[in-house]
Assembly symmetry: C2
Homo-oligomer: 214 residues x 2
């Protein structure tokens, strides 16, 4: 039986949460859109395979990567029996090397503009979205989508896009700051603002802190 991995790669361009899809260059289903994937090799685990695939696609290592679920329907791949271990990955979209776009015919899509996908990839994407919301409500996760240095309004707009709602500015600020995960920098980001927004960064691997936006 063939074992594959498929990755839902999320990014945030400052406006919207997006997902990275590729146009397949090989059979079956050439020229159709799909998640980026690959086969698990004899000498690697699924995590290693997913990391390898992501490195190839994005040029980045050490991305936030989480196993989602394994898809095993008998006829999910029309050619040969394949089970696919689905992952989702979070990346700082600005670190993504655009030159790789051409090589893999990759493109970022807004989540409400996703084209038809092959196989059970639509399901994978849906499950990935659900899990992202579910988990981000309890764990500091969405920071992975931002640059190391960002601003509070940007963070808020990310949360708002992920949860498709608006949050109160004051409450959001209080809550997010109370986690103790953010470090306010001296500098400001002056782009498109009179006063300028403080740059903040965050502490990875803080133990045990969880939060939910209000």
């Amino acid at each position: 039986m063939i074992v594959a991995v498929d990755c839902s790669v999320f990014g945030f361009d400052g406006q919207h949460l997006k997902i990275l899809l590729i146009k397949r260059g090989f059979e079956p289903c050439v020229e159709e859109w799909s998640l980026m994937g690959g086969f698990v090799q004899p000498d690697e685990s699924a995590d290693e395979a997913a990391n390898r695939v992501l490195k190839t696609l994005t040029g980045l290592s050490g991305l936030y990567l989480e196993q989602l679920q394994t898809y095993t329907k008998v006829d999910r791949d029309p050619i040969e029996r394949t089970v696919s271990i689905a992952f989702f990955a979070l990346i700082d979209i600005h670190q993504y090397e655009q030159r790789l776009n051409d090589q893999f015919h990759a493109e970022w899509f807004k989540l409400d503009e996703i084209p038809d996908l092959i196989f059970d990839h639509p399901q994978m994407v849906q499950t990935a979205r659900q899990k992202l919301r579910y988990k981000a409500a309890l764990h500091p996760l969405l920071f992975e989508l931002l640059p190391q240095r960002f601003t509070l309004p940007l963070l808020q707009s990310l949360f708002e896009d992920v949860y498709e709602t608006k949050f109160d500015k004051g409450n959001f600020s209080r809550k997010i700051i109370s986690t103790g995960m953010l470090i306010k920098q001296k500098e400001k980001d002056r782009a498109g603002s009179k006063k300028g927004r403080f740059i903040i960064s965050w502490i990875k691997n803080i133990t045990g802190r969880t939060f939910t936006p209000s």
Copy 2:
């Protein structure tokens, strides 16, 4: 590559949450304890394989079954490269047919008395426990471990065992009743109680209700 399933089967005997383990009757690791598992056949999905395995082991169909995670370390099986899709199942321990015990050398273990297990099965069990707690806090799940008809004190002792803590009787009752999922029956269970406890049952598939015990 070989694809297998392994199931953490949970039951509740009225006192403690327990897990069903088997003593392997075949190589590798004969006579060692392990989760019940099996190989995914060419004509079945992993869910179907898990259900088949569970049917064989417990005599029961339609158990609550949830995919956990897939384990893929290269050398996890010393004989041949095998990936294993881990599941956890919840069963009403009283429906379990004891006669199957002998056939599979199966035994129920309290969670703090689990023997050494083969391969990465200890990890699977740990992940299953975590997920059970995590999910049961937000979804009506633990009912699956009880008979169709049970009592409130029994439900509470189940929660207390799962979360290894005590809950306030009044608060627990208010909270659990406020979900609207319970139906109080006319009859009572008189075993070991002066007054007798009302039999209750629960409504499956109620939409969207979540709860956490206090």
